[in-house]
Amino acid sequence: MARIGRAGSRLGVRSLSMPLAVLLLAITQAAVAGNVDPAAEARAFRDYFFKKFPNVKADDFANGPYALNEDMRRQWEEKEQFPPYEFSLEAGKEMFAKPFANGKHYADCFPDQGIGIRQNYPQFDAASGKVVTLELALNECRTANGEKAISYTGEDMAALTAYMAFTSRGKPFDVKLPDDARAREAYENGKRYFYTRRGQLNFSCATCHVQNPGERLRAEVLAPALGILNAMPIYRSDWGGMGTISRRFITCNSQVRSVPLEPQSEEYRDLEYFLSYVSNGLPISGPGSRP
């Protein structure tokens, strides 16, 4: 942006009429935006965290704050002996196997019967032109089979996604950004949402998870943005239960005193797309637990 401004002055934009100057700047900005390579951005995103935390192994970013705080890590490792998400995981497995009223299953809606595929979500759906998250795909599966959609923030959705994440544990995130202007736009929208300040506290997602990971916000140790979705869904002691990605986004918005958007709104789905894409290569570690 600043570079474009200086170049404009050198080219004598000031001497042009204002509307023409504005038009030229807009065209230049659009051209520059079009040239940004999301793969290069993802590398830069990862490098930022690798440099910020040189002692943390790349894959360990999937463990969020536990990768950054030794005391918390020890507690977490002990807790993992009897993980608090275990009941939800079992419930999710049962729900996933239970047939719908029409006799079909969740497995019929997904490739590989829905096993070991969590790392491929969200996906860009060329037919609808929108980002499809795993939560959305599960509800689309339900409604396509005559069942009612379930709450995106509820225990059932958390349980189902916990089971599907568990079957993908260790598999690296592999979210595709197809050569489609609409997919690219969704990625850009998600990126913009991530960096945009909102709420009375004037925080962006990046304020906590890029500028201050490892720092404490009251009792909470802030997780790095890199790998932040790999452990989802999570059991949070603060919630006293399991929570989905939708619930996490809504809580984040509320914490900065912003009115949350509706679960699975376009902005949230695009945000999940962006965050997942930049974490490509890091292993799925969900379901997880957090303080």
Partner: protein, 109 residues
Amino acid sequence: MRRLSKTLLGIFWLLASVAGAERSAFAASSEADFKQAYAAADAAEKEAGRLRNRWLPTEAALANARKAAEKNDFDQAIAAAREAEVLAKASIFQATSEKDAWKNLEIRP
């Protein structure tokens, strides 16, 4: 004596009437002021909603304004509505300025 009593009673009635009229005129004026203040706050919050950037404290202030108005506490209702308007305008400013400012935080290659 009786005339004096009647005169005093008349003066009292007159004063009471004037006071009552003033009170009702004040209440009517306050309610109108509240409606005006609330409409301004509500319009600003709708604009913040259009920008997908509503704030929780704005919603709380609007709710407080409505509750106070229901209790005919228009002073409190107007104060809450004005607070909501200020907050809503701040959220609009935030959304507008962030259209470009978000890039300052971006990690770039």
